[in-house]
Symmetry: C2
Subunit: 286 residues, 2 copies
């Protein structure tokens, strides 16, 4: 191709010098909410002890409102919206961006929120394998009108490394487990409080308990396609999500704003410690 | 339930007086981009000739960055992000909101962007039936671990009414046709320019031509679940999308900013004329 327009990022190979803008990227962190990914970039900037002012950390994708993107040092922070289709558009264009920018040895981590199963709200789940609604470690990709099944395995060493990192943070509840990815927040996750609901409380609990027995510790909406695409493109990938509730107890998220904010910062804290360790910037506190 | 928290809209039955805030809503317009839905609300406000200043049209969901919502008179304008899961979360919470607010006789219209098949870029497609990647008029909803098939038929009378409305706008290219809804923008829509591509240009064209023969005139990523959920909940629903390119010619969206903006305003213009007609505010111009 003469020119590659990354439409949903509002970037392109003719309009932007991608190697200059992104050539030094080593860590990409992605998450659903634009505000959260901006907060992570600002937090990371402080943690890296960088000299430029934080007012320089501007949304690189400001020309579009589909996604937000921030960069501080070797760390890129990008929002991906909610659900498999939304994150997959972003990943296609991000992977092309990393290729055009000639980045190498990139680690990509999804930091998100999720519903827990049988674990205390506020726990951070580091995913070993992403599974679908049927507890299978696979992602079904429709290509033209064929269905192709892709593996959703994540980097086991990276998951272990993150888990070891978590142990060094005081009072940090973390565990390794399977993460279930669904296409729907209500009926697909067994919630009784959606606009539509055709099953009983008993059926819901039976499903969630079977998920627990299959090794699932949390539920979110992006991990399978994230694992599949990163795996196929040779990116070292991890998924780290905090749980906002225990789905065996309830369906609604009733946390106060402050508790919600504190929970959402937990994956950010873990990843910032991990990145600092990888960069040789040891955390003096822990 | 004692309280219903519409988490992703940052609204709730205890914290907000939903009948007072939304009781008069008769038209709900939804679209992917927050900026576009804000622009539509401001445009609609002007078209309705309402007296309050447009500075009063604020994002009702400002407490969250998942969706944006604006209200002017009886018209609600909401963003839904990209893809089936993202719009389905919004629809669950919107439908509960309309119920709590005791709204009746509500018409809901998705105004979006899409890729055309065999029609000129800039054409506005009014959907008669939403179809899946296999050209079938159905939506597969995973409920717990069961797959349930739902109808994706839309209101035929409403589609006809919108088409008649379009004929009264000078130089307005509109047509009625099937709309295909996919889970992926790249591999799922036969694009050759994604980060992953495993098929030839011939296979792509064969697929898109078969779609055309099946009656498909445009491709987007939300219409099947939108039609299925609105149908089940008794909402009169329509999908009106402008096409940004002809997929038989190309994969990349290379329109200039100004042309893109003009195309995006076409569904807005049609819907504003339709709403004014329904409200008895005849458009003097046409």
């Amino acid at each position: 191709m003469d020119e590659d327009i990354l439409y949903h990022l509002d970037l392109g190979t003719k309009t932007h010098n991608l190697p200059e803008m992104f050539g030094d990227v080593k860590f990409v962190c992605v998450g659903g909410s634009p505000n959260r990914m901006r907060a992570f970039a600002l937090f990371m900037h402080k943690e890296l002890g960088l000299v430029e002012g934080e007012e320089d950390i501007k949304d690189i994708c400001a020309g579009t409102d589909r996604y937000c993107m921030f960069k501080t040092g070797p760390v890129l922070s990008i929002s991906h919206g909610m659900g498999v289709p939304s994150i997959s558009i972003m990943l296609h264009e991000l992977i092309k961006l990393l290729h055009h920018a000639r980045c190498c040895d990139v680690t990509i981590i999804r930091i998100g929120t999720s519903g827990g199963i049988g674990i205390a709200p506020g726990s951070v789940v580091i995913t070993d394998t992403a599974v679908d609604s049927f507890f299978k470690p696979q992602f079904e990709q429709v290509i033209l009108d064929n269905v192709v099944t892709r593996s959703t395995e994540l980097d086991k060493e990276l998951a272990e490394e993150l888990f070891n990192c978590s142990k060094k943070i005081p009072n940090f509840p973390a565990l390794i487990g399977h993460t279930m990815c669904t296409y729907d927040f209500y009926e697909g996750q067994g919630r009784l409080d959606g606009a539509l609901c055709s099953f009983s409380r008993e059926k819901k609990l039976d499903y969630l308990k079977r998920a627990y027995e299959a090794g699932v510790r949390n539920i979110e909406m992006e991990s399978t396609v994230f694992a599949a695409m990163c795996g196929l493109c040779g990116l070292k990938a991890a998924v780290v999500c905090v749980t906002l509730l225990d789905r065996l107890d309830c369906d609604q998220i009733t946390l106060s704003h402050d508790v919600l904010m504190e929970y959402q910062r937990r994956p950010q804290l873990l990843i910032s410690n991990f990145i600092k360790k990888k960069l040789g910037l040891c955390d003096q506190i822990s």
